[in-house]
Symmetry: C2
Subunit: 490 residues, 2 copies
C-alpha cells in the first residue's frame, strides 16, 4: 500500500499565487483573489496577471516565474487554452500544488479529455499536485486560506467537506457558516483528474484537525480503492456520503456535469454499508449530521428521553423516534418522582416529559439531568426551551404597544432574563453531556439567530439546537448507527 499523498501544500501552503488575479468585479480571478485577501490568509499572497500592475494593493507579476519568492500553491483562473502554459511556468517555478478552477476539460467532451490528460501528464512530470480541474476552489480554516468564489468563511472546526460539485459544495459551506458548524477544510474536487476522492479520504484520515468527513460524489473514481480506503477511515472517523446520480434522471444529469458514469444502486448501497459509510439522501442532511457528529458525544444505545415544552411536540418526536428505530422507554417511579417535584400534579408522569408550561426555571434542567442519570436512557432530546426568546420578543412588542403602565425597562429586563436563561441552559447541557457522556439534542422549534451549533467555551461538547424534531431524530439515529458499526468492526 502506497503512502497517502501529502496534501499539505494544498491546504497549508506558506505562499499562494493566484494566476488570473484581477480587480474586474465578479470575474473568477477577482472573486477568488479578493476572498483570499479579505479572508486574511496568514502566508504570502501573489497576484499574477500580465495586464495588471497592482491588484488590491499587492504588486502583480506578469508570469508566475516572475514572483520573487517561492510559491507553494497556485490557484489558476485563466481560460482553459492558457492552462498548459501556466502549468509549465509553475513547473519552472517549483510550485508544489495547483488548484485549477478553470472548466472546459473532460466534462465537455473528447477535446477536453485530451487537454486534461496532457495537463495531468505535465503535472506528474513536474511533481505538481493537481486539484480539479473544473472546481470552485478550496478552503482551510486552520491556515486561514479561503480560495473559493463564494465568500463564506465558516469558523474553525472539525468537519471536512469534499465535493465533486463546486456549487453544491460552496452552498454547503455557506450553510455550515449559517448553522455555526465548525469546518476544518473544504475542497471542490471537480473532475479529480489527478487527486481523487480516495486520496482526499486518506489525507483526511490522518489530518488531526478533521474529525468528521462529508462527501458529495457523483463519479466514483477508483471505486474499489474508494471503498477499501473508506472502510479503514470510517473505523476512526465518521464518513458521511451523498451520492448524486442514484436514479436514471440523476445519472443523466450527472453525465453532462462531471462526466460521471452510473452503476447499480443496490450494489453501491451494500458497499457503503460494508465500508461503514453513512449514506444520506439530500444535501441538507450532510449539514444536519455535521452539527451533531462534531458537537455531541455518540449515544451508546437507542433509548431516548424526551423533554418537551408542549405535548404535541413530544408526540411527534416520539413518533419520529419509533419510526427511525429509536425507543422511548417509560422511566421507573424514582425518576418520575424526582422530575415531578418541579411540575404541576397533572403532568404526564412518563416519557416524553411534558413541562406543561411550568414557570419553574429548574424544571427543564432537572428533567434532562434525571433522564441522563438513568441507565435506561442513552440520549435526551429537549424541545422548545431554547427558542422561546423569539416568541417572547413578539409578546413584549405587543405589550409595549398596548400597555403604558409598565415601568420603562421592565420588558427589556424580562427579555434579558429569558436570553440569559437560554444561555445558562445551553452551558448546562454542555456540562451535563460531559458528566454523563450522553448526547442532548436540542430542538428550538423556530429559526434562531444563533444557528444550530452553540459553542460553549471550555467544554468538550457544544450545544446543538435543531429547528425541527425530525432533524434531531435523524441525526441521533445516524449517530447510533455509526456507533454500532464502529463497535461491530472492533
Amino acid at each position: 500500500m502506497a503512502a497517502p499523498i501529502n496534501l499539505d501544500p494544498v491546504f497549508h501552503p506558506a505562499s499562494v499565487a493566484v494566476v488570473g488575479a484581477s480587480a474586474s468585479f465578479a470575474k473568477w480571478g477577482q472573486m477568488v483573489f479578493s476572498n483570499i485577501v479579505a479572508g486574511r490568509f496568514n502566508g504570502r499572497i501573489f497576484p499574477v496577471n500580465p495586464r495588471e500592475e497592482v491588484v488590491f494593493g499587492l504588486p502583480a507579476y506578469r508570469r508566475i516565474q516572475d514572483v520573487p519568492e517561492s510559491v507553494d500553491l497556485a490557484v489558476i483562473c485563466t481560460p482553459a487554452e492558457a492552462v498548459l502554459d501556466v502549468l509549465g511556468g509553475c513547473g519552472e517555478k517549483g510550485v508544489k500544488a495547483v488548484v485549477v478552477i478553470t472548466s472546459g476539460f473532460s466534462e465537455t467532451g473528447e477535446a477536453g479529455r485530451v487537454l486534461e490528460r496532457r495537463m495531468v501528464h505535465l503535472c506528474r512530470e513536474r511533481g505538481i499536485l493537481l486539484v480539479g480541474p473544473n472546481t470552485m476552489g478550496i478552503l482551510c480554516t486552520h491556515s486561514g486560506l479561503f480560495a473559493t468564489g463564494t465568500h463564506t468563511r465558516p469558523r474553525k472546526g472539525k468537519v471536512a467537506f469534499v465535493s465533486q460539485s463546486g456549487n453544491l459544495g460552496n452552498q454547503l459551506i455557506h450553510w455550515a457558516e449559517r448553522q455555526n458548524v465548525g469546518v476544518s477544510l473544504f475542497v471542490g474536487s471537480g473532475n479529480e483528474a489527478m487527486v481523487t476522492s480516495p486520496d482526499y479520504l486518506e489525507y483526511l484520515a490522518q489530518d488531526r484537525e478533521t474529525r468528521i468527513i462529508i462527501l458529495y460524489l457523483e463519479n466514483m473514481v477508483q471505486g474499489r480503492r474508494f471503498f477499501d480506503v473508506a472502510k479503514r477511515v470510517a473505523a476512526v472517523k465518521p464518513v458521511i456520503l451523498l451520492k448524486g446520480g442514484r436514479t436514471e434522471a440523476g445519472r443523466t444529469a450527472s453525465a453532462s456535469h462531471t462526466g460521471a458514469m452510473g452503476g447499480n444502486l443496490a450494489l453501491f448501497r451494500s458497499a457503503c454499508r460494508q465500508a461503514g459509510i453513512l449514506e444520506v439522501n439530500v444535501p441538507s442532511e450532510l449539514l444536519d449530521l455535521s452539527a451533531g457528529f462534531s458537537s455531541l458525544p455518540l449515544p451508546r444505545g437507542n433509548r431516548v428521553g424526551i423533554v418537551t415544552l408542549g405535548g404535541g411536540w413530544g408526540v411527534v418526536t416520539a413518533d419520529e423516534c419509533n419510526e427511525r428505530g429509536l425507543l422511548v422507554p417509560h422511566p421507573p417511579d424514582r425518576i418520575v418522582e424526582a422530575i415531578g417535584r418541579h411540575l404541576p400534579p397533572f403532568w404526564s408522569r412518563g416519557n416524553p416529559v411534558d413541562l406543561v408550561g411550568t414557570l419553574d426555571p429548574d424544571a427543564p434542567l432537572v428533567a434532562v439531568e434525571e433522564l441522563l442519570k438513568w441507565e435506561g436512557v442513552d440520549a435526551v432530546i429537549s424541545l422548545g426551551v431554547v427558542g422561546r426568546l423569539e416568541l417572547f420578543r413578539l409578546l413584549a412588542r405587543s405589550t409595549k404597544e398596548v400597555d403604558d403602565t409598565k415601568p420603562a425597562g421592565f420588558l427589556d429586563a424580562m427579555e434579558a432574563m429569558v436570553r440569559e436563561y437560554e444561555e445558562t441552559y445551553v452551558a448546562r447541557m454542555a456540562e451535563l453531556m460531559e458528566i454523563y457522556e450522553k448526547p442532548v439534542l436540542g430542538v428550538s422549534l423556530t429559526r434562531t439567530e444563533e444557528g444550530t451549533v452553540r459553542p460553549v467555551a471550555g467544554r468538550r461538547y457544544d450545544g446543538v439546537f435543531y429547528q425541527t424534531p425530525e432533524t434531531a431524530v435523524n441525526a441521533l439515529a445516524m449517530m447510533y448507527r455509526y456507533q454500532r458499526s464502529v463497535q461491530s468492526s472492533v
Copy 2:
C-alpha cells in the same frame, strides 16, 4: 345529514370579551387580551375581570353579564374551577360562542372528564358553541381577530389550520408568518369537547376564504364521520393531515396529552387514501405544502423540467424527482436549440438545464419558459436564481474591504441590480404560471429574508421559493398526488 355548525360567531364575531383579561405580564389573560388589542380586532373588545378597573385603556367589567353591549364571543382564561360559573354568565348574557383556553379537563383524568361533561351540557342547554377546552386559542386574519397566546400574525390568505395541540399549532402559525404563507384562520381545537374536527372541516369546506385545510390530530374524535366528511371536502379543497400518535411511543405520549386513544396505522392510512386526504409525516411538511398548494397551479402530470445554477443541484433534484415518482424527460431538439441560444456551447443540452454560470440575464427566463411551453412537461423547478443576492452581498462586502479603486456607490448599484433582477424574475414566474397554467417551484438554496412565498400583486399565482430541492420536490409530488385523486374521484 345535519347542516354544518355555523362557526361564524367564533371566527367572525362582532364583539369579543376576554374573561380573565389582565395586565399581569405573561399570564394567559394578558397574553391573549394584549394580542387581540395589539392585533387591532375590528369589532368591540371587552375585558372582564373583577379585580381590574381598566385593562390596556379599556374599561373592565366584573362579570360578563355587566358588559353593556351584546357579546358574540367570550374567550375564557380563568382557572378550571371557575369556568362553569363563567359559562353560566355567558348563557345569561346571550353569548354565542366561547373559546375555553383553560386546561384541567378530560386530559387530566376522571374528575376533569366529569367537569368537561358538565360544561358541554351547560353550553348545549344555552345554545353556546364551545371551542376547546385546553386550547391555545384561535385566530382569523380576515376578521383581524388574534386570540392566541403566541403573538404571531400571519398575513391574510387561503390556508386554514386546525390543531388539537395548541403549542404545535401556534408554532405552525409562527412558521407560516415567517414563510409568508397566507392564513385564513387557525383553531386550537383542544379536547374537542363539543365542536369536533369534522365540524371544523364542514365549516371550512364552505368558508370562502379557505382554500387549503391543514390538520394536526392526535385523537380521531368521531372517526367514521371524520372520514366521510373529509372525503367530501377533499374533493373540493386539499386536506393535509399530520396524525400524532402513529407509533407506540407517540400513542403513549398522546394519551397523557389529549387523552387520545390509539388505532391501527395501516387501517388509518388506507382510510386517508380512500378519503383523498394527503397524509404527511412531520410538522414542517404541513407548512411546506401550505406554501405550494396556496400559491401555485396544480400540475396536470408528473413530468418535470429542471433549470439550475450549478450542475450538482440539478443532479440531486433529478434524483429526488425520480425517487418520488416524478419524471425528468429529455426535451426535443427544438427546445434544446431555443435554450441553447442563450448558453455557452458546452452546456448540458438536456434536462436538467444547467445554466453553467452564464451571465446572460435572459437565459434563466428563456429556459423556464421554453420548458413550460413544451407539452412534455407539467411543472418546472428552478434552482439558484432567486437566492443569489445573499451570496452577492458577501462578495460585495469583501470587495469593499480590499478594493479601494471602485467608485463609491458602484457595489451598491450592482447589488440593487441583482435585487431588481430577483424581483423581476419572481414577477415573471407568476406571469408564466398564469400563461401556461403549470407550476414553477423555485429553490433559493439559501435562507432568504423574504420567506418561502413571494406574493406578486395582480397575479393569480405567487412566487414560491423553497430553501432546499427536496422540499420543492416533495411539494410537487404531493400536488400531483392530489390532482390525480381529484381527477379519479370526478
